[in-house]
Every structure is written in structure tokens, then in C-alpha cells.
Amino acid sequence: MNERASLTIADGCATIVLRRGESRNALDCDTIHALRACIDAATTQCNHTPGNIRSLVLAGEGKSFCAGMDLKGVLHDAVRMGDMLRGLSLALLALRRLPVPTIARVQGAAIGGGCGLAVVCDFAITHPEAKLGYPEVDLGVCPAVVAPWLVRRIGAGPARAMLLAGGTMGGEEAAARGLVTRCVPAADLDAEVAALAKRLATGGAEALACTKRMLNELDGSLDEKIAADAAELSARVIAGPEAQASLARLYAPKPKESAATNPAR
């Protein structure tokens, strides 16, 4: 398994961990590929040996769950940027299609694409100090890839207000607005996630898979066209002069913090 993300299975519960902690698990090309590979491996496991995996936890190592897209390396390379956004869009789709319930363990920051990862999961648990949100429009970028998932999660009206206004919010507000399912004290996060994963794993695998398939079909989650179009649109906006200028400012060398700590997309 690739070093940027890992898949482990124990007692019917699979765990995918993003391993780019030094950059707050910001999603660059390699990380997205590794994540996709882990999701595909889990899907294969589910299909070939049903019952082996009964729930899946998505987590990020270090202080933050995922700080969003890391566009630094591909900013001026439209082709690779398009590939990357398409890669993320399809990874989100694959994650949604997993036939087992998924839980995002959100600590620290889940911003932009990172928040998208949390929202695609069936459950998301965070803590009050966490920072979540979609500040894309603040950077002159369009949150196209994550928008359909947010609409499916919190409904079109609230999603509209959230995406157009940009900005980020704390864990409690995120829970109140439906972005995550629960907000628990940071010290209890691991225990809560483990308890939920364990409880879900006791459910009938077939029943859960069937329920999830049904829900995915009903809320339009299986629409590949919209996932592909979203990536194209997002890439087109990022390639525009205004987004380029604001992203160049964002990724300009800073004295201390790593450039990837700020989200984009």
C-alpha cells in the first residue's frame, strides 16, 4: 500500500488513514491516488469476501483531518490540475459507493476538499475546536466538486447559503448545520468513532449494503456525469486569471507555515 494513505482491517472494521500529516493531509496528486487505491482495495474486499469489512473509518494522521486540496504543484499545469480534480471527484464517488457504512473521524481541520471527504461519508464525528467549511469562493475558486455532496447532505437551501458565503465554522456549528453527524469533546473522539464503527459492524452486512445502495440511488449519488462535469468546471475556474492570482498569493512562500496549510478548491 502507498505511503500517503493506508488501509487496515481489524475485527470487521476497516480504517483508511491519510498519511501526509506534515502538510495537514492536504490532497496532492499522490495522496488522492493513494486514497483512491485504498478505497478500491476496500471495495474489492467487500465484493470478494462479503462480511470481512462491515464498517469503514476515514481518518487523517496528525493534527488535522484534511486541509483541502494542495494545488501548489499543479497551479500552472492545467492538464495535471484537471486530472487531480477528476481524481478527487471520482474518489469521492467511489467512497460513497462503498457497500459498507463509512465514518469520517474529523480532527483539527476539514476544509474545502477535506470537508468534502467528511461530508461524503455516511457519518462524520468531530470535536468543538475543529474547523470545517468551504472557503473556496473567498479564493475566487468554485467548490463544484464538493457541492453536489453537500446538497445531498444538508439540502439545497442551506448548501446554497454555506457555499456562497464561504468561510469556515467550528465543530459545534458544523453539527448544528448538519455538516457532521456529531460533535464530541476532543478527548472522546477516538472512543466515539470506535464505538460507532463497532455498532455498525454488528448490523447485517447485506442489509446495510442494500440500504446504502438504495439511498445512493435515491439522492442521485451515482450520477457520474455530474461528478465529471464538476471537476471540469472547477478546473476551468482555477485556470482563470483571478483564481490564479489569488492562489499564487496564497501559495507564495511564507516565513513559517507550510503553504499547504491553507486550503484551496
Binding site: 473556496e136 469562493v137 473567498d138 479564493l139 475566487g140 475558486v141 468554485c142 467548490p143 463544484a144 457541492a147 453536489p148 446538497v151 444538508i154 439540502g155 439545497a156 437551501g157 442551506p158 448548501a159 446554497r160 447559503a161 457555499l163 456562497l164 458565503a165 464561504g166 468561510g167 455530474i226 462535469d229 464538476a230 468546471l233 475556474v237 482563470g240 483571478e242 483564481a243 489569488s246
Partner: protein, 353 residues
């Protein structure tokens, strides 16, 4: 001068006046919460004026003329003329929609408080004319944020039923115009924020639902109580489905119930509820300000994409149903039953004390 004005403001606090900064050396009062106005100045005498300075003001003739309150010293000759001109205008001549531009922000204020901003021919005309100024192309100086608000105790209480009773042909026309207006607002290349106090019912609720973000005061009410006049809210159902979801839309559109702002929030129809009109205004102003500094292209692309995702764009599942929905409502409006129910509703209302 500033100190003197402060004293004046304090003296008129019972009007809950909101003051606007100075311009050309004059201080202006922007609004007076007429609804809660406990003073001897009748709410009817408080009229917003689109002055030659491009500012919207509250004109309180009694205060103004009494002189003792000090307003006159701050009001320039030009605005005095505007006040007089306003005073000479009949209700019908007064603008029913006040449109103000400030950088990228366009503020549209429904201004027919005595009829609770009921949607009639003049209001439709003026609202459409105001939206004509928003060009489809995103340019640097085009408005990227629109605030749709209203003067008076209600945001918009629906169609002007009095006009509909007098001329039965008007109702279907209003329905068609409402359908077109809401579709147009949804497709505008600017983020539209509804600022709702009081009733937003039937056509008024439809207007609010077509906006991107709805902020409401706690006293705001929403709903489509149109079955009692034999009309269907079908024209706005596609938009309502997008905001309230399947279950919520079914409940509101079928029951005709009028719901409170907090309930509307829990259904997703409203994004934020504020304690009173004052906090509502300042929250909307803050939001509008923060949206104005964002890249208009990014905002527009995001709005277009959201329309695509929730199906309200013209090719989407909901957007493409807009025409059929309007036609269905028009058909219902043309029935004899609808005409009779509307007439009896109106005569009952008029006989009420």
C-alpha cells in the same frame, strides 16, 4: 453638528430610527420602524424617499416641520425639495420598488407598506425594471450581490387581491409574471439575499424562495395559504422543492399552513433567524458586505453550479418544470370556483372591522 444630531436621535428613540452616515454635510435618518412606532406620528406619514442624493430616507413631516427637533438644520435644500415632491405624490405615483446601488451591492426595497407590499402590476413592472440593470455578463462594476428587502410590517403578503377581484383576468397574468420573475431571480448572475420581516406569504413566499439566501426576523411567517381562495401554489413548487425538500414542500404546499421563521429554518427554507428587524438588517448588511468583496466570477460560477446540482437551472428537473407548474396554476385560476372563492374571500375580508 454630530453632537446635535445625536441628541436628536436620542429624542426620537421611540421611533427606533436608524441613522445613516453623513453625506454632503447632511445627516440622514434612514428608516423608522413604523410598525412599532408608538408616537403620535402615524405610520402613514413615514415615507421612504429616493432623494436626489441617491439616498433612501424616512420622512417624518411632523418632526421635520416642527423644527424644534433639529432635523431641519441638517437637511439640505435639495432634500427638502425631494420631501415636498414626495408629499405631493399620490400613493400610486410613489415608487413601489426602491433601487439603490452601492458598488457591487444592489438593494431592492419593496415600498408599498400600506398594502403590505402586495404584488400588483406596478410592483411587478418596477421589480422587473430594477432587475434589468443586472446584466447577464459579469463585469467589474456590475452588481454581484442583491439584497431584496421591504419597507413596512410585511415582506410581501402575496398578490394584490383587490386588483384581482376588480379584474379577474389579472390573476392568471400575475401568476405567469411571478413564475417568470422567480425563475429570473434564480438565474441572475448575482447572489440574491432575501431580508424578510413579517409576512412572506403566497407570492411573497415564492419571491423569498427564489433567492439564494434567506434571512428572516423572528416575526417572519412563510407559507402558501392560497387554497382558501381556490388557487394552487403549484407555480412555486419547483423552487420550494429545492429549498424545503420533498417532505417539507409537500407539507407546506398541501396544508396551506403559515409557519414561523424558526420552523421555516428547520425545513431549510430560511438560513438564519434574527431576534428583530434591526438585527436582521445589520446581519444582512454584514453578509452582503462580505459577499461583495468576493470574486464575482467565483460567486456566479458557484451559483450556476448549485442551480445545476439542485435542478433549478432551466434544463434541470425542477427548472424545466417551471413552465408546466405556472400553466397548471393559471388553469386553476381561470376556473369559476377560483373566481367565486376569491370574491367571497375578499368580501369577507373587507367586511372585517
Amino acid at each position: 453638528m454630530a453632537r446635535r444630531f445625536k441628541r436628536t436621535a436620542a429624542r426620537t428613540r421611540q421611533h427606533q430610527v436608524e441613522t445613516l452616515g453623513s453625506q454632503s454635510g447632511a445627516k440622514f435618518v434612514r428608516s423608522c420602524n413604523t410598525r412599532r412606532c408608538q408616537c403620535d406620528i402615524a405610520p402613514t406619514r413615514v415615507a421612504p424617499v429616493d432623494t436626489p442624493l441617491g439616498l433612501c430616507m424616512s420622512y417624518q413631516p411632523n418632526l421635520f416641520r416642527s423644527g424644534g427637533h433639529g432635523f431641519s438644520v441638517h437637511i439640505t435644500l435639495r432634500t427638502t425639495r425631494a420631501f415636498r415632491a414626495w408629499d405631493l405624490m399620490t400613493t400610486d405615483q410613489r415608487p413601489q420598488v426602491i433601487s439603490q446601488r452601492s458598488g457591487r451591492l444592489l438593494t431592492l426595497t419593496l415600498n408599498d407598506p400600506h398594502r403590505r407590499n402586495a404584488l400588483g402590476t406596478a410592483l411587478f413592472d418596477q421589480l422587473e425594471a430594477a432587475l434589468d440593470t443586472v446584466t447577464p455578463r459579469v463585469t467589474d462594476d456590475a452588481p454581484s450581490v442583491i439584497v431584496l428587502g421591504a419597507h413596512g410590517s410585511a415582506f410581501c403578503a402575496g398578490f394584490d387581491l383587490e386588483a384581482c377581484v376588480q379584474d379577474p383576468d389579472l390573476l392568471p397574468i400575475f401568476v405567469e409574471r411571478l413564475g417568470q420573475l422567480t425563475t429570473r431571480i434564480r438565474a441572475l448572475p448575482a447572489v440574491v439575499i432575501a431580508q424578510v420581516q413579517g409576512a412572506a406569504l403566497a407570492g411573497g413566499c415564492a419571491l423569498a424562495m427564489s433567492c439564494d439566501i434567506v434571512h428572516a426576523a423572528a416575526d417572519a411567517t412563510f407559507g402558501y395559504p392560497v387554497h382558501r381562495i381556490g388557487v394552487s401554489p403549484a407555480v412555486n413548487i419547483p423552487m420550494l422543492l429545492a429549498t424545503a425538500g420533498l417532505g417539507g414542500a409537500r407539507r407546506i404546499a398541501l396544508s396551506g399552513e403559515i409557519i414561523q421563521a424558526s420552523q421555516a429554518k428547520s425545513l431549510g427554507m430560511v438560513q438564519d433567524v434574527h431576534a428583530d428587524e434591526h438585527t436582521l438588517r445589520s446581519a444582512v448588511a454584514t453578509l452582503a458586505e462580505s459577499l461583495c468583496v468576493k470574486n464575482p466570477h467565483a460567486l456566479r460560477t458557484t451559483k450556476d453550479w448549485l442551480n445545476r446540482v439542485d435542478g433549478t437551472d432551466p434544463t434541470g428537473s425542477l427548472g424545466s418544470a417551471a413552465g408546466r407548474a405556472a400553466q397548471a396554476t393559471i388553469d386553476v385560476c381561470r376556473t369559476t370556483e377560483a373566481r367565486n372563492m376569491l370574491e367571497s374571500f375578499w368580501s369577507q375580508r373587507r367586511s372585517r372591522p
